[in-house]
């Protein structure tokens, strides 16, 4: 039986907490009663195979989808009751990257800044630094419709960082990004977490999550199958095991043994 979430006045040390979060589409249950606990200031890696429900979970948490059942508490607030107040504190890189194709990169950033009420001089300074970091300075005046996928991803990341959020939701942030930018973004995310910000990140690249995340949750077929601090997870699953091995154990992935697909490469 699930207990109600504590009120905002009760400090829990959690940036994000859900209880029985469920989302269905007709007969299909995409997210099935998950209880997430993301400590404030943590770097939380949210893993799962394709179609496990990672993106749907992020959409529910960021207000793009309404949960069918369950409770959520983000930074001590109920996002369903106070959506605008919660969104003021969030930065999101969603699956579809959330950018106006017919606006330039700079105009997209300017839209985000003004919706968040950033003063002009603050925007100018932050936008300049972010565009330089993402190596998008030359493309700032180009329509996003003419951007490559990697450029869009970087701009979406810049838009998420711009209002200096307290909690970042990043859905596959490194997919399609070059090595140089990827390294800089990783450093930026780590320093963001060290300064007290919280990162909630999904990725298929387990090495990235293993290197960056201090907490991990694994979702499989809509259910949260394991969750906890990375060190605890490693300690509980045997000496010297990698995240990949833990992940494969948890989701029960099949393996291709030497006898399979003999015709391949013959």
């Amino acid at each position: 039986m699930s207990h109600p979430l504590p009120s905002p006045e009760e400090p829990t040390g959690l940036a994000l907490e859900t209880r029985g979060l469920t989302r269905t589409f007709g007969d299909f249950t995409a997210v099935d009663g998950i209880d997430l606990r993301v400590p404030a200031g943590s770097f939380y890696g949210f893993l799962g195979p394709n179609g496990a429900g990672k993106s749907t979970t992020i959409k529910c948490l960021t207000g793009l989808l309404r949960p069918t059942r369950g409770e959520m508490r983000i930074l001590g607030l109920d996002p369903l009751a106070e959506p605008v107040a919660v969104k003021r504190r969030l930065g999101v890189v969603p699956e579809d990257l959330a950018l106006f194709g017919r606006l330039t990169g700079m105009e997209n950033l300017s839209f985000v800044a003004r919706v968040h009420g950033l003063p002009r001089e603050v925007f100018d300074q932050r936008a300049g630094e972010l565009l330089e970091l993402m190596q998008l300075g030359d493309a700032a005046g180009t329509l996003v419709a003419d951007y490559s996928h990697g450029m869009r991803k970087k701009l979406s990341l810049a838009a998420a960082f711009l209002p200096s959020p307290r909690l970042l939701f990043l859905d596959e942030p490194f997919e399609g990004i070059d090595a140089v930018s990827s390294r800089q973004i990783k450093r930026l995310l780590q320093s963001f977490a060290h300064r007290g910000g919280t990162v909630f990140l999904t990725s298929h690249v387990l090495e990235i999550v293993e290197r960056l995340a201090d907490h991990v949750g694994i979702i499989h077929r809509g259910r949260l199958v394991t969750q906890g601090a990375m060190d605890d997870l490693r300690a509980g699953s045997g000496e010297g095991r990698t995240l990949e091995e833990i992940f494969l154990d948890v989701v029960g992935a099949g393996t291709v043994d030497d006898g399979g697909l003999e015709w391949l490469g013959g």
Binding site: L64, R88, G101, L103, M106, R114, V115
Partner: protein, 625 residues
């Protein structure tokens, strides 16, 4: 046999390989068509209903094509003997054949261009990865295009007609059958070449949008030509009334018909009918040199010369001239299509590169009466929409239309000085044109106003993720729509003012107030409809992919008709009954104030509705992703 040996044999067997590849390409075309009938799984009921309707239309179209093809085949059974027998039957068959094949050519061109422009062409990158040579790929593309439903529609009828002609007149059989094969090959090559050319132009987004914009404006301008010619003809008729036969003369002719001498004259006229019949036959058999290069004409020329009573009009050599033209054109088109194909494949993802402009941000000016957040929503929409094909069309089309209307209805023009025009008076005519400009400006914005959230693509997610209230979102979009409508209206009104410069000066501010009143009533309707019937569209496209939801468009049209009634009614009373421009101005100002007062609470309610429909809007866009 080992796997390697089988592989080697497969590589050597040229004809088997060709057949297998051709089958694969044909299968691909038909599988794509069949899958498009089934559609993919839709999440919302509305999307499912729309998918079912689309499927129903496609099935009906398929049925019509199938039944039509059978009908044509039956018609061919009767047409072939008529063609052979000569006389009126032959005339009819030749006219129908020439018209029908001409129509087929135009339809095929239109659909090839349309499909290629919509991105329905072959995925070039995928083709490049296949272990098949470029020349063979090109040949396969041409061969596969023979399976085009429009082409297949004509196959049974034409095959039967040509086959029967060949049986009835063996002397011309070879030319007729050869022409048939060449004609179909030429049609397929023609359609494919057009598609390649369009794909070459349209692979650059900006170039594609400018080309489409210019083509659309040209097309619309051409549709005005008959109106202008008609007006010109009317004016000439007015200027030369004496050229018309006097009524007395007509009566005399009637009397003459009733007299015995008149009867004799009628007999002579009947012999004239025979002459007319001869003229018709001659016309049916005449193939002007400037028309013969059309594949449909060249084929019909061959069929006409290869059939009919001997000696036919012209000689049997004419049949081979048609064949020669078809061969020549086929070779030229094949060569051209190969060149285009190679250019396409040489760089399948080619583009002229992104255009870089100065990296300016959205204007920081806050619009009066709006919150900064609502203002930035408005600026974002204006900037984004004005960079699209439809956004630009919405700005220019009212002015273009008003140029024609204001010219036709100008004072002293044929219509302006007609009885109706004179009875209404120049001020009322100018007022009606101004009202027309308001209606057209709103009409032009329908795809945008009635689908305010569906046009944002993934920008909608950015908006929904931002800390902004639904009220700000609705208000910002409504203001953006107002600015856009005003920008498209002002030049259109200016055009009316230029042609009707003698109209009362108060008419023009009254027209602007009428626009405010009409928009104030229409904006809440548009806001509601946008939330209830959203559709993810690309305003860079003119076709279905760029249009609002059909239900929304219908509600929009009806609403526009209703919301324009108050300003039209009061305007007519003020001008036509009281003949007072001052009353017109005051009444429109009164209406503008009242309508704005009504609009605000309605927009507020629309904001509430948006709050409840945020997820549905997001899913609508996600459906397209």
């Amino acid at each position: 046999m080992s796997e390697q040996a089988r592989e080697g044999a497969r590589e050597r067997s040229g004809s088997g390989d060709r057949g297998r590849l051709l089958w694969a390409f044909l299968w691909l075309r038909w599988r794509t068509l069949a899958n498009s009938l089934g559609g993919r799984s839709r999440r919302t009921l509305d999307a499912r209903i729309q998918a079912w309707v689309e499927m129903l239309i496609k099935v009906l179209l398929g049925l019509v094509l199938g039944v039509g093809a059978v009908g044509l085949a039956i018609g061919a059974v009767f047409a072939a003997p008529a063609l052979e027998a000569g006389g009126k039957g032959r005339v009819v068959v030749l006219f129908v054949l020439r018209g029908g094949l001409g129509f087929l050519l135009v339809s095929l061109s239109f659909f090839s261009v349309f499909q290629a422009a919509r991105g329905g062409g072959t995925r070039m990158t995928r083709l490049l990865l296949l272990p098949v040579s470029l020349r063979r790929l090109h040949g396969l593309e041409l061969a596969a295009s023979l399976a085009d439903p429009w082409l297949l529609f004509a196959v049974p009828g034409l095959m039967l007609l040509t086959g029967l002609v060949a049986v009835l007149r063996p002397a011309g059989a070879l030319a007729a059958l050869l022409a048939l094969v060449l004609f179909f090959a030429l049609l397929a090559t023609f359609a494919t070449t057009l598609a390649f050319a369009v794909q070459l132009v349209f692979r650059n987004r900006r170039r594609a949008e400018w080309v489409a914009l210019v083509a659309f404006i040209l097309f619309m301008t051409l549709t005005f030509v008959p109106v202008l010619l008609d007006e010109h003809g009317g004016k000439r008729a007015r200027e030369a009334p004496t050229e018309a036969p006097p009524a007395a003369e007509t009566t005399a002719k009637q009397t003459e018909k009733e007299s015995p001498e008149g009867g004799e004259r009628q007999a002579a006229e009947r012999s004239g009918d025979a002459g007319e019949s001869g003229e018709a036959e001659e016309a049916a058999e005449t193939f002007p040199i400037w028309l013969v290069p059309l594949p449909s004409e060249a084929f019909t020329l061959t069929l006409a010369r290869a059939s009919g009573p001997q000696p036919a009009v012209g000689s049997r050599a004419g049949a081979w001239i048609g064949v020669g033209i078809l061969v020549l054109e086929l070779l030229l088109l094949y060569r051209l299509s190969l060149v285009l194909w190679r250019r396409l494949l040489a760089n399948p993802e080619a583009s002229s590169g992104p255009r870089r402009t100065e990296a300016g941000s959205l204007p920081s000016l806050t619009l009066p009466g709006l919150s900064p957040v609502a203002t930035v929503v408005a600026w974002a929409q204006l900037r984004a929409v004005w960079r699209t094909l439809q956004g630009r069309l919405a700005l220019v089309m009212p002015t273009l239309t008003l140029v024609v209307l204001a010219f036709v209805f100008r004072p002293g023009g044929a219509v302006g000085s007609s009885k109706v025009g004179s009875a209404m008076g120049p001020a009322t005519v100018a007022a009606l044109l101004a009202l027309g400009a308001v209606a057209l400006a709103l009409l032009g914005q329908q795809a945008i106003l009635l689908n305010q959230h569906g046009i944002d693509d993934s920008g909608l997610s950015l908006t929904l993720l931002g800390p902004l209230s639904s009220q700000d979102l609705v208000l910002g979009k409504a203001v953006a729509g107002a600015v856009s409508t005003l920008v498209s209206l002002l030049p259109a009104l200016l055009v009316v003012a230029v042609f009707h410069w003698r109209a009362p000066p108060l008419l023009w501010p009254a027209a602007l107030l009428a626009a405010v009143a009409t928009y104030a009533l229409f904006a809440p309707v548009a806001a509601w409809v946008s939330v209830v019937l959203p559709k993810a569209v690309d305003l860079g496209q003119i076709g279905k992919k760029g249009q609002a939801h059909q239900g929304a468009a219908m509600v929009g049209m009806l609403s526009l008709g209703v919301v324009i009634l108050p300003v039209a009614g009061m305007g007519l009373v003020a001008l036509a009954v009281w003949k007072s421009p001052w009353l017109l101005l005051v009444s429109q100002a009164f209406l503008a104030v009242v309508c704005c007062l009504v609009a605000f609470p309605l927009l507020h309610l629309a904001g509430g509705l948006l709050d409840r429909r945020r997820e549905a809007l997001f899913l609508t866009v996600a459906e397209r992703e």
